[in-house]
């Protein structure tokens, strides 16, 4: 059954995405670890970490696209789940430092020591175990999303109202985590990690392994997401995106549908955050900033909303652009990036992937709808009211 579920989501697009990911998972380790450094095919560890970071963002974008593209929930607070997942991982890494901290306290992280904490707060218990931390990576964002969604969906909060309260959520978390009293290192966050699962976090092999793990997580999430979308549940999601009450009158309990997708998405975001932290080496409250969530929305929009692969593409491209331009045009890059966003909306209303869709739509298609007469993708009338 599980197999069928995964197969269901496997269309041509998924094939391409998974092939690329599989290629990355193989080629990148080879090119970094075994290809000699002077070869043009050598990849520096720096590049690997960078790519790993992009793929974490891609996973976040994928998660976001699942709820935004397919259930119409524009989350302006998805970074909250990402960051919580990151903190769960960060707490594990922090505990792994053990007595190697500057104060040499085997129990307490440094920031607790210099603020005179004497014992580990209860919510840090268990984070010295990887399995526990890994569980929390899913459970904390998942539980928060579930609780939040349960109330919000049941109260029928929709549209901008929902968007804004997700923003309020992440903003509140931002302020809360800034406070030193929260016990998460305040503004400075968690950093100075030493090792993960016993391996030196800065070692090349560890970095490559983390990268491969990220690719795997992304591929798995992609398969889950596209399986969900292809299922009837996915169709219900799309249906309720535009006509929720109609779906309800048909007997579907739309709240639980949204809750399912929302929680699933939050867990994915949590995983993305967890993989992000060891690769960038720090997690701090600024990740909660509303702007980070908005940026994630923008990756999805740039890549193409409601396409899954678009989110991935958008996240990677935008962040690559950001990395490049902040170095190459440090004083002007915002013009470039801002201009890019404007241009994408104006000229590629369906994102980069939509462009691809527009091109292929012109050619005869060979999937199942092609057999039917009259099949055509209809464009909305320019004047018509949109969703």
């Amino acid at each position: 059954m599980l197999l069928r579920f995964f197969l269901m989501g496997l269309d041509r697009k998924a094939g391409i995405v998974l092939t690329i990911l599989a290629f990355l998972a193989v080629a990148v380790p080879v090119m970094t670890l075994w290809v000699p450094a002077d070869s043009p095919f050598h990849l520096s560890v720096f590049t690997v970490s960078l790519l790993g970071k992009y793929l974490c963002f891609a996973l976040l974008a994928l998660a976001l696209d699942l709820v935004w593209g397919y259930c119409g929930i524009l989350s302006l607070g998805h970074a909250a789940f990402f960051t919580l997942g990151g903190y769960a991982m960060g707490m594990y890494l922090m505990r792994q430092i053990g007595p190697r901290g500057v104060y040499g306290n085997p129990e307490l992280p440094d920031f607790m020591v210099f603020l005179n904490w004497t014992e580990l707060p209860w919510y840090w218990w268990g984070f010295d175990q990887f399995w526990f931390a890994a569980l929390m990576v899913l459970a904390v964002p998942g539980a928060l999303a579930f609780a939040f969604g349960w109330f919000a969906f049941r109260s029928r909060v929709t549209g901008v109202y929902l968007s804004i309260i997700t923003q309020a959520l992440t903003f509140a978390l931002l302020l809360a985590f800034f406070r030193n009293d929260m016990g998460f290192g305040g503004n400075n966050g968690l950093t100075d990690f030493k090792d993960i699962l016993g391996y030196d976090i800065q070692a090349d092999t560890t970095r490559v392994a983390l990268f491969v793990a990220t690719v795997a997580a992304l591929a798995l999430s992609y398969m889950i997401a596209s399986g969900v979308i292809a299922s009837k549940l996915g169709k219900v999601l799309v249906a309720l995106r535009d006509a929720e009450s109609r779906v309800r009158f048909m007997g579907y309990d739309t709240e639980s549908y949204k809750l399912f997708a929302w929680t699933l998405s939050a867990c994915m975001a949590g995983v993305a955050g967890a993989l992000y932290v060891p690769q960038v080496g720090i997690i701090n409250p600024s990740e909660f900033a509303p702007a980070s969530s908005i940026e994630a929305v923008i990756w999805v929009a740039v890549g193409g909303r409601g396409t899954l692969a678009g989110g991935i593409l958008g996240a990677v491209l935008v962040n690559m652009g950001k990395s490049y331009f902040t170095g190459a045009l440090p004083e002007l890059w915002l013009f470039a990036l801002g201009g890019l966003f404007v241009a994408v909306t104006l000229f590629l209303p369906k994102g980069l992937l939509g462009l691809w869709g527009q091109l292929t739509a012109k050619l005869p298609r060979r999937n199942k709808t092609a057999a039917l007469p009259n099949a055509q993708t209809a464009n909305q009338t320019a004047g018509q009211k949109g969703a």
């Binding site: 923003q167 309020a168 959520l169």
Partner: protein
């Protein structure tokens, strides 16, 4: 011991009066101001005010204003006023002109906070007899603050002579303050203490409370202590009442700031449905316009600086509105019917605008000054109200009322609403939707610009200005109910008040977190905001 003190005091009084006779001989004291660094100046100042000669007043005032210099050549203390590159020197006592001197030839007598305090105290004591009632009043206040026992005698004399009721009251309060705090208190009769206590109770502010508390805890007789304690408790009640009112005022004024920041968004987002992430930048542009207008005033009409804000208002409206129209015509208009994409485009625009301002004006804060009618504060009963805030409250309400009228009572407003509710149909009805759209977006942006003028008075004028308000603005509009102006008004005021209500208990940080949680919970109760539109009309 006590007797010795009393004796000493009497002596002081004698000395004080007798030195007055030798008023002409202030010169060495004035001269002493210029040597010995801060402590030397302070010592000389003390002697100068002890001398009690009003002739010293201009000297001390010059010292306060930073106009007192030492001529390096001969060490003479002079008053020097800048005239171009050089200084014009005058004699501090005789006011005789002493010619000009280059900047390098004189050295300013510097003062620090301790000196400033001493100057205030001595000026207070010395000007109690001034012919100008205003001066006497502030002198009395200064004495009240300094509680300088030396001033007591002059104060008594001044009270005896004083005709102006309110000035006299101030003087009596000052006297009561001195009596109760100085060593002399222990020698006063109960009746005297009682009288002083009453005077202070009548004053009724926190300073009085502190003094009364001292009496209540002092070594005075039980009766006085008790009556002081009673006075303390009535005063405390009164102050608590005023404090609550004051908090309400803070809520109102914070609410007005939120309202101003949000109201433009209530047009572009609330009415037009554009998720306008560049709203904050429109506010910022308004603030920078204010800066530019003020620069012009500083350069060409410094005398009229107080009017700069009045000129900045229309200017900011036009500039921000103009930018808004350009944005609408070039970008937004392609996006109607795709509200989510407006988020992406306006976010991009906000990055561009921020960076543009950063490139043009630099990344640092720019100074926007407050006109005199917007600075300072006044007391209203037990409330302290700053002029700046008061004007912002008034202004916010005025903008709100004007917008309300424009949207609800004019043809333009009707077209705006028709266009935003059903653009193609409005067009088919003969409404020029393109023009209406551009003007509406321009209106919203222009109002954001107006907000920028107001915010420049209380906040940074930097490229980040807008970012600071964008989230709050969205919260307010959504909390109040999208598309409902009254909702924006009530939402802003509610959030402002709640914030200010929580702040004293929870602290600013937790208070803010609680407000956010409140918004989240509130939206659960009212999923379409405070002033939700109900009925089929909305669902359709």
């Amino acid at each position: 011991m006590r007797r010795a003190l009393r004796w000493l005091m009497a002596l002081c009084v004698v000395v004080a009066t007798s030195t007055a006779a030798y008023a002409a001989d202030l010169r060495p004291l004035v001269q002493a101001l210029g040597s010995g660094g801060y402590s030397g100046t302070e010592k000389a100042l003390a002697q100068l005010s002890e001398a009690g000669d009003p002739a010293a007043v201009p000297v001390i005032e010059a010292l306060q204003a930073g106009d007192l210099f030492v001529r390096k050549a001969d060490g003479t203390v002079v008053i020097a006023r800048r005239a171009g590159d050089a200084y014009t020197l005058t004699d501090p006592l005789t006011r005789a002109a002493l010619g000009d001197a280059p900047a390098a030839a004189v050295e300013k007598i510097r003062i620090n906070n301790a000196l400033r305090r001493a100057i205030n105290a001595s000026l207070g004591a010395l000007t109690l007899m001034s012919p100008d009632a205003g001066v006497r009043r502030s002198a009395a206040d200064a004495v009240f603050k300094s509680r300088d026992a030396q001033a007591l005698e002059t104060l008594n004399a001044a009270i005896a002579k004083e005709q102006d009721k309110s000035v006299r009251a101030a003087m009596e309060q000052a006297r009561a303050a001195i009596l109760l705090t100085s060593e002399a208190a222990s020698m006063m009769t109960d009746a005297e203490i009682q009288a002083a206590t009453d005077t202070l109770t009548a004053r009724g502010d926190r300073d009085a409370l502190v003094l009364l508390n001292m009496v209540a805890g002092s070594g005075a007789s039980d009766i006085t202590k008790r009556s002081a304690a009673a006075a303390v408790s009535t005063l405390e009640q009164k102050l608590a009442f005023w404090a609550a009112l004051q908090n309400l005022w803070y809520g109102l004024s914070l609410g007005s700031v939120l309202l101003l920041a949000a109201i433009g968004l209530a047009v572009t987002f609330g009415v037009m449905g554009v998720i306008n992430m560049a709203h904050g930048e429109m506010v910022m542009i308004g603030a920078y316009t204010t800066f530019l207008v003020q620069e012009l005033f500083r350069a060409y009409a410094p005398g009229l600086f107080d009017l700069s804000i009045l000129v900045a208002l229309p200017a900011a409206f036009l500039v921000s509105g103009g930018v808004g129209i350009v944005i609408e015509r070039s970008v937004i208009r392609w996006l109607y019917g795709r509200p989510l994409e407006t988020l992406l485009a306006t976010w991009g625009l906000s990055l561009v605008l921020q960076q543009a301002v950063r490139s043009i004006f630099g990344p640092t804060n720019r100074e926007v000054g407050a006109p005199s009618w917007m600075s300072g504060a006044f007391e209203l009963g037990g409330l302290t109200i700053t002029y700046g805030r008061l004007w912002i409250v008034i202004f916010a309400f005025a903008v709100f009322a004007a917008l309300l009228v424009a949207l609800k009572r004019t043809w333009f407003g009707l077209s705006i609403r028709a266009v935003t509710q059903n653009r193609p149909m409005a067009n088919a009805m003969g409404i020029r939707t393109a023009r209406v759209d551009a003007l509406t977006f321009g209106l919203g942006s222009g109002i954001a610009g107006l907000a920028g003028v107001a915010l420049s008075q209380i906040d940074n004028v930097s490229p980040n200005l807008g970012q600071g308000y964008i989230i709050d603005s969205f919260m307010v509009v959504v909390f109040g109910g999208v598309g409902n102006l009254w909702g924006t008004l009530v939402g802003a005021l509610t959030l402002g008040s709640i914030n200010k209500f929580l702040e004293p208990y929870a602290g600013a940080v937790l208070g803010k977190i609680l407000v956010l949680i409140f918004i989240i919970l509130f939206i659960q109760r009212r999923p379409r905001g405070l002033f939700a539109l109900k009925g089929r009309a909305v669902e359709a």
